[in-house]
Symmetry: C2
Subunit: 350 residues, 2 copies
């Protein structure tokens, strides 16, 4: 089956746009951010970075923008031009079939809008291009949409997934193929999949928080977080779930309606799903955790050289070895104990 | 979204085996070919080329084989060895973690069994390796399972697919994105998808017929067929559907139960689905055909150099220009006319 994808998938570039448009939390968060803030868009100059199907540019025109530069580097720009034409939007929307890095404008823009997010926010994302567009073309008091982006991580149980694997492989046409289930348990490659909210076993931790007006490219090279947290239900600690949230905020505008797009398992699913990093426990028993247990992990996302891809590394930490465990403030016995220990440490340090 | 697959799919190698095992027409045709012919397998020496999960080797042992060489070149061989061990099958099944081209045996085998088929039979298939195994290891009166393989082609309508595309793109959040539908219609890249039996608009045509005991590698380099056929329903001629059938026959054995695996749209779907080559008509009207109309096409599958991939080319032929249209014998007015014309041509030629 390998290699088939190369041959067949290029066929699907149009279908990918359909998939993205049909992702209603995605499309409607942009629509609402634009159309619920029409007063702000009226008469403004906008740049749409990676305009694709043109939907965001069309929303901006609908909101009253004076001019929209729809930048699209791929051959799709040709179809995009037709879309703009059949919607009689050529007076406002100008399609620029260029890489955004090559775009030259005689004016600065008021707003940059872009749907640049990848899996777990950064995978194969075009955020670098959006930041370059900002530095080249956005007015000093201009607005980035989305304006903020965060990555969240939370420990999760993968019990259902594992049970279904064990059950299946234990009897295949009468044969015991359990070595396949055993091997599957050892895999720790990230998987893009939707998990249920009740698979999350602690409060989520924010591991990255970007204010896109001021984000520097270098902030995207290495994301690192070391966490100790108390578990909020008796379950299994079998993986780390990653997802993102982006905000469409405008703190300088009084009448602005804030909109967010949240890809957490507690929100309706999107085509980004969640990114799960399964953890391997040599001993099956070791993944059991009880409510109020403290667990710890270290998460590293680093960008591969000359690539828009990241490596994701998760290491489980022994809470007993935590130098500075962070109590979650849940008032449990353990959490209170850690707070007390921390306070004592601080006092000794001073 | 591009490029994601490289990073995430390698995770799925175990899942691919589950997918294939769960494809019951596939797995059960092999099971039936082996277990319904136990008398023949009893005491025989078998080679399983590309043993994978080991299911075929285990069926062979179950059928009474004396010895099974399970050849698996990938790292999966390690898990396969465990599967053989936990099924207490080590006395019969020997896992060879080698490319079949490198296998050296002190004996010849009675039967080669292999599930080597790819999309439309040949895409990324490992048939070459199976033929090499045959030449190196099969007894002169040995049996290949499957024993025969055919590729079929049939003209088909894609009305539903096209209608759903046109309908969707005509109104996307109030905007007219029909240029996307128009562009989708122009695409002629093969697509792996399941079509309904009633989308097929003529009798299927056999475009390749392999007797695997005698097939030469060179027969796989270029497959060519030129067809004129009468349409059996008033519909649209919008694509060519390809699929395959493999047979588990043994003409030298009286008590043999013949089994076939048919991936035609008239049979239950398999993970091979069908391969559809959409045809592009400059004028939408031109794809309409009426019952008894004669249509023609030329199909070429040629192997890319140093590759297990094929290019598929389909050219629609003008039936009026047919030098030797082949009447289908359906007794229709047109078919009778062509038969008459052909006969006349033949007489003139003599």
């Amino acid at each position: 089956m390998n290699g088939d994808k190369d041959y067949f998938d290029s066929y699907d570039d149009l279908e990918v746009h359909r998939l993205m448009l049909c992702d209603s939390p995605r499309t409607e968060s942009y629509r609402d951010a634009i159309l619920k803030n029409q007063d702000f868009f009226a008469g403004k100059v906008v740049m749409d970075v990676g305009a694709g199907s043109g939907i965001l540019s069309l929303f901006c025109k609908q909101a009253g923008a004076k001019k929209v530069y729809a930048v699209e580097a791929s051959p799709l720009a040709k179809i995009l031009k037709d879309v703009i034409r059949v919607n009689q939007a050529e007076d406002v929307i100008e399609v620029l079939h260029q890489k955004v890095e090559d775009v030259e404008l005689s004016e600065k823009v008021d707003i940059i809008v872009s749907e640049w997010m990848g899996f777990y926010l950064l995978h194969e994302s075009m955020l670098d291009s959006v930041l370059t567009a900002r530095d080249m073309h956005l007015k000093e008091d201009g607005l980035m949409l989305p304006s903020h982006a965060q990555i969240y991580a939370a420990p999760c149980s993968l019990t259902q997934l594992k049970k279904s694997s064990v059950d299946y492989w234990s009897d295949v046409y009468g044969f015991n193929m359990s070595p396949f289930a055993k091997e599957a348990m050892k895999r720790t490659k990230p998987e893009i999949t939707i998990i249920a909210a009740d698979q999350i076993i602690s409060e989520p931790i924010q591991v990255l928080d970007l204010d896109l007006k001021y984000t520097d490219h270098s902030e995207l090279d290495f994301i690192h977080s070391k966490t100790f947290i108390s578990v909020n239900k008796t379950d299994k600690f079998q993986g780390l779930a990653l997802w993102f949230k982006t905000d469409f905020f405008n703190y300088t505008e009084d009448k602005w309606t804030n909109i967010s797009l949240n890809t957490s398992p507690q929100f309706p699913p999107t085509h980004w799903k969640q990114t799960i990093v399964p953890l391997f426990h040599e001993n099956e028993e070791n993944d059991s955790v009880e409510e109020d247990d403290i667990i710890g992990w270290e998460l590293k996302l680093f960008r591969k050289e000359d690539s828009r891809q990241y490596s994701i590394q998760v290491e489980v930490l022994d809470p007993a070895e935590a130098e500075h465990p962070v109590p979650c403030g849940c008032q449990s016995a353990k959490c209170t104990l850690i707070s007390a220990l921390l306070q004592k440490e601080d006092e000794e340090f001073q």
